[in-house]
Symmetry: C2
Amino acid sequence: MRLTLIGAGPGDPELITLKGIHALRSADVVLYDALVNEALLEYAPPVAERVFVGKRRGSKSYEQEEINAMIVLLARQFGHVVRLKGGDPFVFGRGMEEMRHAQEHGIETAYIPGISSAIAAPGLAGIPVTLRGASRSFWTMTATTDTGELNPEIATAAATDATLVLLMGLSKIGEIAAIYAGLGKNDLPVAVIQDASLPTQTVVTGCVRDIESRAHQWHPIRPAVVVIGGVAGSEFAELKN
Amino acid sequence: MRLTLIGAGPGDPELITLKGIHALRSADVVLYDALVNEALLEYAPPVAERVFVGKRRGSKSYEQEEINAMIVLLARQFGHVVRLKGGDPFVFGRGMEEMRHAQEHGIETAYIPGISSAIAAPGLAGIPVTLRGASRSFWTMTATTDTGELNPEIATAAATDATLVLLMGLSKIGEIAAIYAGLGKNDLPVAVIQDASLPTQTVVTGCVRDIESRAHQWHPIRPAVVVIGGVAGSEFAELKN
């Protein structure tokens, strides 16, 4: 009776760790999210149950409490529950909530880190989150709060020299750019990366002044990572848009 | 004639990606750092050259410029150079400098992300860098600047609500705690994780007030990750000290 929380990485099925694959091979049940590449389910034994618990447009998604309860029930019924989450389970993944709930119900837990798109999405677009002479730090957050408001920490971050990495930032790109513009940072480079690591990866680069119009053509269906800072102006950033 | 920059992860040889292993299998030369687990070199073909370019105490380490030049020479002589770096190559890894230098010399480059200890070291100690109700963001930096001074961004970060993740922070732990104490944050939780993911992993937890004395017993030889913020007070953090 155990739960293994695994980071599935940003999307490319080869960006899972060897340790993650080994855990999948001993799964009795796999619970997976919408952002997880379903090719990874092939590593689980054929008899293992595969349960989709992610959000899909137009259909009701599971509440966190339902997922927590399901993990406990399934662990008791089947044994080894593997929870596959996109990116890393502890980066805005609510992984710790699932882990704690399982522990409170006497279930042994393990965590296997994953490649977070916070670092990999910029990297795969040719943008290092840190670079000597351009950035000594990076600050990662979601663009919105739980209630859908603009994250107030963005205004704090905009006043610093940190590279800002925003997950799920595309729908608020205009408001975010306005904050930077208000600080006189109109020429600060900005990049938006969608579908990082997948064959459909797309990158738009610009600066605070023009990123909204450049990214305007995009339909913000798929999650995107927004990077703001000198590093996003790297001449090596891919220009695939 | 190509260069593949691979993130080797935090230390556990199973925390490399499948993609990283595939690239290693086609290496003609592997250049690796001190923080890379040498078990990973087994994936390279037996005939591949293995070149250690890291720092070791008591011996001169290679300058960045020497490594850059070596990559170009070896790619021309042997073909596929694999550069294995601890963690992720773009998180304080100077990976982009090597990549640019290679590109400027006509060498094709690729980047394969790795598990960064910025996220995985806290996670493996039971500390999620983000947690609903405790932290909506995390800010990652090194404790010192290139010249060995305390990173001035620490003071900026201490005034925010971000989880602060400091790489190589143990030697400055007293000065760092003093900054937080000066802001009245004496009871803010702090954790120090050394040798994350290895059998020798050690975790010390405390708060701003007492972390220096708690971590004092440690010899700061191996790199440590310092986490400061509410999430470090998680009741699930391992107490192995």
